[in-house]
Subunit: 433 residues, 2 copies
């Protein structure tokens, strides 16, 4: 594609999302570097080696209940069975179980050899003294062979692959690693994400803005989003609206694995950023997407000047996103498009964005030719998740977005025909943040 894609129709959301997914899949072929982290620091990291079962799971036939191990056929006759022994959890497998007898057992304990079922404590009648105790399964209840027993290896066989390379580690994956005896894991290095806010109106957080100026809030927002998505944020100083300032910042960002530029992609100011990217050799995949907010989004690649720099990506180009400067727009475009690319650079198999469904309780209006992503509040805690629009004053309205916890997805008007709005009660798609 030509750098400015003159006259090209803008892609719609689905088309741009498919392009991003394809790009991410291609980038995922480059494996990032690897480090070793302790299990209790592994949350949010990405597995660089598969996790294999170190032994059968469970490692022995285990009881799923507190009760009595027995032979199912004998117990189902409802005759008293002599209690021949007892096994607590943690004890070595026992047995063999004598004919016509039962064996007291706790949840998680190994089933004695010879037993083929466990009858539950709540389902038996006990008789006799401590030395000659018997139990009897209360009629009319019977039990099947294998009842209340988890067979050895039922969950996994020794050597089975339990987790693949590219799995993001959260609580359950950490538990599985613990179960298999791994106090530390090999994970991929986090991609380094350069964040470059541009604009003569921006001043740092600690400054008191002069008339006409505002503080740089985009860098703080994107740094938090990058960290949450598994990247290592690298906030560059604000670039000014001059060729010199932009050229220097873009050259510096060449050491990163991903570059996010905010601002300078609308009709007027792109005059400065686009030539700067072009001078640096950028190849553009799209300039603009038919979404609202976020229409001016730019996605491309810069050639890597020094292929040895950066954490991870060898002989690859540097993906760049030119995000619109308004915070709602940059949040939406980050979640929809930059996060999946970041996930691929991090080595992750699942790359988002994440959508779910909820019941709409306000009504929303579609637009012709634009997929809308509108800040919304979802009552995730309720018995039926319900979502409503947040009233907002344009894509610069951070205060409104801070009251939102998701975005309602509104298809293009043409796809909703004959209606041009979604009415209360409809089930709608929401973008999770």
């Amino acid at each position: 594609m030509s750098p400015t894609l003159p006259g090209a129709a803008l892609p719609g959301y689905d088309e741009a999302a498919a392009l991003i997914a394809g790009y991410a899949a291609k980038r995922a072929r480059f494996r990032p570097g690897v480090e070793r982290v302790a299990l209790d620091e592994a949350a949010g990291r990405v597995l660089a080696e598969p996790l294999h079962a170190d032994r059968d799971q469970p490692p022995f036939a285990r009881s799923a209940r507190d009760g009595f191990a027995c032979r199912a056929a004998e117990a189902s006759l409802h005759r008293p069975l002599a209690v021949a022994g007892a096994t607590r959890a943690g004890q070595a497998p026992s047995g063999p179980l004598p004919r016509g007898s039962a064996w007291e057992i706790m949840t998680g304990a190994p089933v004695p050899s010879g037993a083929d079922a466990v009858i539950m404590l709540e389902h038996v009648e006990t008789s006799g003294g401590p030395s000659a105790r018997t139990v009897r399964l209360l009629p009319p209840r019977t039990i099947e062979k294998d009842g209340n027993i988890v067979a050895r290896g039922a969950q996994a066989r020794k050597g089975d692959k339990l987790l693949s390379v590219g799995t993001a580690i959260s609580a359950v994956q950490a538990a599985l690693a613990a179960a298999c005896g791994f106090p530390a894991l090999k994970v991929f290095l986090r991609p380094r994400v350069a964040i470059l806010a541009t604009g003569d109106e921006l001043v740092p957080i600690r400054s008191s803005p002069a008339p006409g100026q505002i503080r740089n809030s985009s860098s703080a927002m994107l740094a938090a989003m990058v960290a949450a998505a598994g990247g290592e944020p690298w906030v560059l100083p604000i670039a000014r609206d001059t060729a010199k300032s932009l050229d220097a910042a873009i050259a510096r960002a060449g050491a990163a694995d991903l570059l996010l530029i905010t601002g300078g992609v609308s009709a007027g100011r792109f005059d400065l950023v686009e030539p700067a990217l072009a001078r640096a050799g950028a190849r553009f995949h799209f300039i603009g997407v038919r979404i609202q907010p976020g229409k001016p989004l730019v996605f491309g690649d810069l050639p890597k000047r020094n292929a040895k720099m950066g954490n991870s990506i060898r002989r690859a180009s540097l993906p760049i996103f030119g995000l619109p400067g308004n915070p709602v727009s940059s949040a939406v475009t980050f979640l929809l498009f930059a996060a999946p690319v970041l996930a691929a650079l991090a080595g992750r198999l699942d790359r988002g964005p994440r959508f779910a469904l909820a019941r709409l309780i306000s009504d929303v209006k579609a637009r012709p030719g634009l997929t809308r992503f509108l800040p919304a509040a979802c009552s995730f805690a309720g018995s039926l998740p319900q979502v409503e629009l947040i009233s907002w004053e344009g894509s610069g309205d951070l205060a409104a977005m801070a009251r939102a916890n998701c975005f309602i997805v509104v298809p293009e008007e043409g796809d909703l025909r004959p209606k041009s709005r979604i009415e209360p009660g409809a089930i709608v798609r929401i973008l999770l943040s």
Copy 2:
């Protein structure tokens, strides 16, 4: 309530959830201690002071577009307007705008006084040389007063409360704090959550389990879940199935803000844990909930021996959860019941659990008298979120749960009547993890 609640019917899910929500609301009246953290380390923390707008937002009437500031009534006559000046973003407000003229302006720049609309670059025709340039709004387009202008203070007025105490800080909240000039924020101290795995069958991660033993995976899982939910995990050594070991561990946990015990709550072994809690003075809110997995869940309070210990909660009791020992059960019960209490102790206003909707593509079976939470895989990335059951070998099956990313909520069979299953294509509720 009596310690063992003899003969009491077990609460159903909704009843237990309502009890937890009420308890959490009551606990939230005790404010945790406070510390100050830098904005770039504030993600996941909870605001201990409200955030107020330091000035009007936007601080000046700003242009929402690249184009020309003008008087709407003049521009809509389609006569050429002399370009009287230009304002870039970052420059001080300018003007006044002479009659019959326009003022070149960039997105984000202050609108000159006298102008009441901005016509977009794409909608004008330009004539004349650099020194005598004119622009004309192309017919038949007209523009309304206030068009493409965000009024000063439209998003917030100086002093407005933008974020309340108890707001969890994520990217957008960080951006808002940056916009208001806060490089650091006052946040609540994290509640300290004691995690106590019990059971003679458990050995530490680094050990090689003897026959009948398994490694302690619950503590690693709960530590990660606690950290993700905003708590500070404090993993205690494994307690053995003896009164002495349990008493000592429970006494030690008195220094925590919340105690999670795993194991020892099923019919057989609770004999040991329940008297230990009772000896320590526990008061039980429920012992068992009609859910699957997780039915043996215990929730109660222990009196605090030393009200000055712990991070945060003064003169309050220590909430305790006895979670079932099987990992799927403890994960589900943590998300449903312990996480909302933890959120309250952390000072959070939103306390979960989080549910969303998705389209079912397998079918699921209901049970009489039990609400089920079944490990499932949801394709959050697709255009329609679709969810299907993961096949699992009981609530000990960590390997299966590691392939899941949510839980399908299956109402009690009685609430689904006349059917006893949910069929493919239905919209179902999922518990987000």
